[in-house]
Structures are given as C-alpha cells and as structure tokens.
Point group: D2
C-alpha cells in the first residue's frame, strides 16, 4: 500500500480502542501480501489447471482480508482472528494445489510462493494481535 496513504490511515487507526499498540508495519506488510496473493492467484487460475478453483477462492479471500484491514472501524479482535484463520487456511489449500504443478508451471511456483508469503504475513498479524490483548 502507498506509504503516504498508510500514514494517514495509521493515524486514524491508532485512535481506535485496542489498536493503540498495533505495529502498523506488520499490518501494512499483511495488506501487501494479501494484494500480491490475490494477483498471483488470479493469474494462476487462468491456466485451467486443477489448482484453479482453489486459486479463485484464495484470490477472493485475500481481497476480502485486505479490505477488512483497511476498514478496522468495522472489525472486532474476534472477527479479525477468525478472518485471519480463514485466509491462512485458504492460502494453504491454494499453495498445496499449486505445489503439485510447481515443476511444470512457473506461474504455479510463483503462486505457491505468494500463498506462503500471505500465510506468513497473516500469522505475524495474528501474533501481534494476540500479544496486544
């Protein structure tokens, strides 16, 4: 995400109850990883390989996750945790499917990496939120 926009958004977010201590660099990294994963999965799903349905599901979940982090006014810690778990689970499925073709398809290999990076970023986000509560 654009760093100036992130700055303006952060100021807003830090004033929400329970968000004062949020590490905004971890949140920004998570948004970016979700965005990159949505893009990789969208490209990957056009290949018509068996991973396509998982990648389409993952693209939608990552977009929904990214937007939710931009709209924390409409989230609770419990809902964030559940969304992060769903995003992690969905990335896992898409990654597993893509790994089966990673040897023949450069796109699947890159998509699996984007899924892994998104899982890691969501996990960091979860850890940060847990340490805050």
């Amino acid at each position: 995400m654009d760093s100036m926009m992130m700055g303006a958004m952060s100021k807003d977010m830090m004033s929400m109850p329970g968000m004062e201590m949020m590490d905004m660099s971890i949140m920004q990294a998570c948004m970016d990883a979700c965005s990159a994963c949505e893009q990789a999965c969208t490209v990957c799903s056009t290949q018509m390989m068996s991973c396509a349905p998982a990648c389409m599901n993952c693209a939608d979940m990552c977009n929904t996750m990214m937007r939710a982090m931009m709209r924390m006014q409409g989230m609770t810690p419990a809902a964030m945790m559940a969304m992060l778990d769903a995003c992690i689970a969905m990335c896992q499925v898409a990654m597993d499917e893509c790994m089966e073709h990673a040897d023949h398809s450069e796109v699947c290999k890159m998509c699996a990496q984007a899924c892994q990076a998104c899982m890691d970023a969501c996990m960091s986000m979860k850890n940060t939120m847990m340490s805050m509560s």
Copy 2:
C-alpha cells in the same frame, strides 16, 4: 440460487470425495443467505451510519463465502470450517452494529435480520459438515 443450476452443480459436487453425503438443500440455503446478506449490507452501508464499515466488511465476506460454496473443488473441509467461522464472526459484528440503529433505521433493522439469517445458515452448514466427518 437458480434451482436448475443448483441441480447441475449438485451432481458435480456429490462426486467429490467427502461430499457424497452433503445435504444440498442446506448448502443452497446457505448460498442464498450469503447473497441476501451481501445485498442488505451493501444497501445499509450507503446510509453513512456507524455500522457502514462493518457492513462493507460483511458484504465482502458473504460474497467470498457464497462463491467458495460454488467452488467446492477448490476447498477442503478444514478451509470450509474456517471460512464459515469467519463469515459467522463478521455477520455478528455487522448485526451488533446495525442493532444499535434498528429503532431509527428500517434498513438497519432489515440488515440485522439478514446478518442473523446468514449466521444461522452458516451454522447449519457447519453442523452438517461436522456430522459428515
């Protein structure tokens, strides 16, 4: 969802491992409840009341959930469970926010009902999936 399309989709889905016993009427009801909740939340969010960010998050999650049920080829039981939990949590947040305005806003009242119905349908879906495993 259109019943003829649901029929064609069901035939496909029943052949997936672990889905032979799925009660398709429960899945169809869940898709329809997600679709109705996305629509209610989208309308509700235009009112510029404090529930708007929660309703936008809920609209996106419900759409992602509905599509995932239409693309079960790209789901696992674990991912489905996590997505259903996320959808239930998100509907709860939107419903709680809307209930605070239910007395002054007819739209918020209807939106809260759509969120409740979606939560119930996702819960039924979870129960069905758990009884299958």
Copy 3:
C-alpha cells in the same frame, strides 16, 4: 433482492436528483439478473472449459454492476451508462464462449441463458435511463 429491502431503498433513491422517475421494478430486475449471472458464471468457471476466464470476468463485472445499483448515491447518469455498457459487453463475451459448449455442457447452456438475461436487463435499464434524461 428482498422486496422489503427494495422498498426501503427505493424511498431513498427516489429522493436523489434525476432519480424521481426511475422505474424501480426495472432496477430490481436488473440487480436480480446481475446476481443470477454472477452465480451462474462462478459455477460455470469451475468446469475448466475454455469459457472459464470470460465467466470469471463476467462474474466480477456483474457483482460490481449490482452493487453500483445499490449505491446510486455514488453514481452519475454518465457513469451508470458506461458501467451498463461494460456489463453488457462482458456478458456478451461470456455468453459467446459458453454457447460453444452449450451442446455438451448443461451448465454452459444455463450460464449462457443467465448472461443473455443479464444483457437484456441491463439494456432495459439503459433504455429507462435514456427516456428519463
């Protein structure tokens, strides 16, 4: 769309400049056709036939179109016309692709019908808007 929600939304919409004369039944039919087309295209795209990328594009465009009609506060007549044209064009592409498989795939046949119905509904919406200006 739920008729009670449509009623509440209509009241709101009729008070927007330029919308006093909108035939709400035509708008509701268009929203419903967009929703049905999104669903049909989402199911169709899981078949991994050559129509899949067109159907995914069409599903996204139809969802965006449907939501825009629910958020007319953030539209102008010019933007509505351009969006309707885009939705019609996208439905045409998905329908053409699906018609090539309509003989072997029941889902493609139904998807092509949903695309056609959505095109027709968008066309009616355009005609209504043109007659108002």
Copy 4:
C-alpha cells in the same frame, strides 16, 4: 504487480490473437494504478464523508478492471474498451466527490490523486489498444 509474475503472464498473453503487439509495461502500469485506486478508495470510504458511496463503487470497478487485465483470455477488444470506459467514468465520479473535501481531508486528497492516476493509466491502455487495431 510482481515483475516475475508479470513476465510469466506476458509470455502467455503475447501468444493471444491481437495481443502480440501489446506494450506490457503499459498494461502493468494500468493494473498497478487500479490496485492503488481500489486501496485508496477503500480507505477513503471508511471516513463516512459524502464521497463514500462513489469510492466504494470505484473500488469495486477498479478491482474488476485489474482482474480482467489478468484474464485477457476471457476478454475481447470491444469488452476491454467498454470496461476501460466504465473504469474511467467511475474514477471521475470518485475523484470529483473527493475533490470537494480535499481541503479538509488528507485521505480524500490522496484518494483523488489515485483516481486521477487510474484514469490516466486506463486512458493510456485505451490508446495503446486503439493503435493496435
């Protein structure tokens, strides 16, 4: 978009009829501008200012536009042109609305810039496509 993924995608795309001459750097810039505009509009819409419905519409249209460029297998030149026109029109509406608050809201100011950049990128994309046909 990730440059390695863009490279893999470009190879695929250049083999589609009518796409041999596409300037991939212009397409990549357009995808990136759509993604940035979706993010800016999503953040902006949480401010509950009068631009919110336009920004939500714009966020959805930009996401749909970005994905369509990643799924050119399911596009025709005519549909691309219509989608680009719709995206330009929608960005114009969101920009106009945000400009009314640009003096008091830093976020609206940045959002208007993201809308303008997205319009410009879509215009370049249109020009490139027209020069190819």
